[in-house]
Amino acid sequence: MNKYIKNIIWIAVAILGAYALAGIALNRGESINAIWLVTAAVCIYAIAYRFYAAWIAAKVLTLDETRATPAERLDNGRDFLPTNKWVVFGHHFAAISGPGPLIGPTLAAQFGYLPGTLWILIGVVLGGAVQDMVVLFASTRRNGRSLGQMARDEIGAIGGNAALIGTFMIMIILIAVLGLVVVNAMKHSPWATSTVAATIPIAMLIGLYMRHIRPGRVLEASAIGLVLLLLSVVAGGWIDHDAGLREWFNHGGLTLAFAIITYGFAAAVLPVWLLLAPRDYLSTFMKLGTIFLLAIAIVILRPEIHMPAVTQFVDGSGPIFGGTLFPFVFITIACGAVSGFHALIASGTTPKLLSNERDIAMIGYGGMLLESFVAIMAMIAATVLEPGIFFAINSPAGVVGQTAVEAVKTINSWGFPVTVEQMEQLAKDMGESTLFARTGGAPSLAVGMASIFANAFGKSLLALWYHFAIMFEALFILTTLDAGTRVGRFMLQDILGNFNKKLGETSYMPSVIFTSALVVAGWGYFLYIGVIDPNGGVNILWPLFGIANQMLAAIALCVATSIIVKSGKAKYAWVTGLPLTWLVIITTSASYEKIFSEDLRVGFFAAANHLSTQLAAGTLSPERAAVAPQLIFNQHLDAYLTVFFVVVLWVVVLDMLRLSIKHLRGEQVKPFTETAYVKTALE
């Protein structure tokens, strides 16, 4: 009887999900309610989790709840520690969810709401969540070894080094693009700049409190910090209204970029307890709280989506980034659908805390589903805006024109109505001087979130909600920037330690300063170029980040596939082989287009050659001619980086195939490295 009712409920969920999905996919009317996206997503997640994840757990991985996990066997009370599954879930989710799933969908909304939404849903169910779960499983069965170590053990030195270099490169590009997003959000906005600046002393104060005033009282300190952060949003408004004070925080892109570069260096060199750790607490609480609030607001408000299902920009002429729907929607939305970076978390802290294997589906697969839901909400926040407004905020001046009148004219010519007065009123409502060409995704997401929040919780506070949203985004973008620079520094020290022992010591101050400076210079360079690029920089950097991140996902799936084959389950190798194949296809074709396309906004070489010709002919304005040589050099550099990524990817894939075929033929390959079975003594 009970089973009978359960079946009926699951059939109902399936029908509802299919109905909602068909509704959003087939709708060609004026607008559609966002609740349909939420419904479709939740039903698909529920079914995928209940059936696909459970099937993978039982048949492919054969999870064994009687088997002791590394947390139990190697329990040292510190990093290896059997932990409550909800706590592990919380840690895992807080670690994997960064700004990626908020920015990617916002940018991809230029294709309409449908392509991005479908990719988020299908990608996560068959790709991203599977990757996270299988890697978590593999690492749990190998004493919590990292992705790089597993790649070395399973595939060989090439795979291991590829994972290491891939991670380092992603870090550099990711930090640059995130820095650019923050710069664009703060450009000539004293309110945003002063609020974001205030988060630094607040974090330091909380750091001191947790370290010296009341050691280890994390919740108490965080509560104080959160109150101060909210105050800083209000205080930013006062500063903005004070004619003298506002000039202190009114800066252009370059000044802000150098400020962020300086800050990044300071954060990497200062002790973690002073800045990094307290900032991380605040941003984690802020992130979880805001995402929860946004979900509630969307459910209460049920906003209408105004963006068409599919726009004309699928042909590659999109203003936010150039490139056709295939493959660029799959590159633009990485986090939220499938993100290689997660494999580092799933083979990092999480497996060392897991108290029982049976929770692998909930933490690995379930955690990624929740991240995907964040991406769906970002998609909703971007598409509830009138498309005209969305494109006015997100299109760089280099594409739509320098002045408001030009920009409005260009956007109207695409068939998206928007007026200069409308944009001025919106900027005034949000407490900003202008919202034209505020690229990077953060301002438009903040406008979307502010209108959702203001409609749900009080209309009069639009400007406060806007700057709250900017503060929320900047807070955890800067946390990723700090933490990423530090991790980059560790990796670099690890590599340099092979040549010079002293350089490898993580507490040797000259080495700390030297390697931190190198890492900051790396992302600082891309950030600088992004700021001086009239096309906004995001157009170049985000696809590069997407390609790098998908490449890392492909490496993780190679490791996973080779482990499944070696465990004698070659017939299930498609579980990871299918998303792997898809990632190889999209990464390779996106790289091909970025290198060989004749389209100036897609091909790196095409853009470089075009600029060189213009420079030689003397048709550029003096300001543009001054930066042209740097832009040309950068386009070449980006092209070679892309070549490098795709070559690394293919080498690892072919190596994995070679080993798998050898294994299936019964020849000797690298040994299966799973640790031996030990019965659990817990419970």
Binding site: G77, R78, D79, T83, N84, W86, V87, G90, H91, A95, I96, S97, G98, P99, G100, T167, I170, L174, M210, R211, H212, P215, G216, R217, V218, L219, E220, S222, V272, W273, L276, A277, D280, Y281, A334, C335, S339, F341, H342, L344, I345, G348, T349, T479, T480, A483, G484, R486, V487, F490, T506, N549
Partner: protein
């Protein structure tokens, strides 16, 4: 109801690391204090220093 709220509070404390020191003391008493020459447990401040350093030595934040 009260029991559920207590349980939730417990999880929040554990998630944030607020109770890390208490858990450490428990672990210490259980596994290390019985040895003859066992060193005394770390003070709250020293433990927190140690805990924070170890938490931030690897990749723990993502995109």
């Amino acid at each position: 109801m009260l029991k559920k709220i207590k349980h939730l509070w417990h999880i929040i404390r554990q998630l944030s690391g607020d109770d890390a020191y208490e858990r450490y003391l428990k672990h210490h008493a259980e596994f290390h204090a019985s040895a003859v020459d066992a060193p005394p447990p770390l003070s709250r401040q020293d433990f927190f220093k140690y805990w924070q350093e170890s938490k931030w030595s690897g990749i723990n934040r993502c995109c």
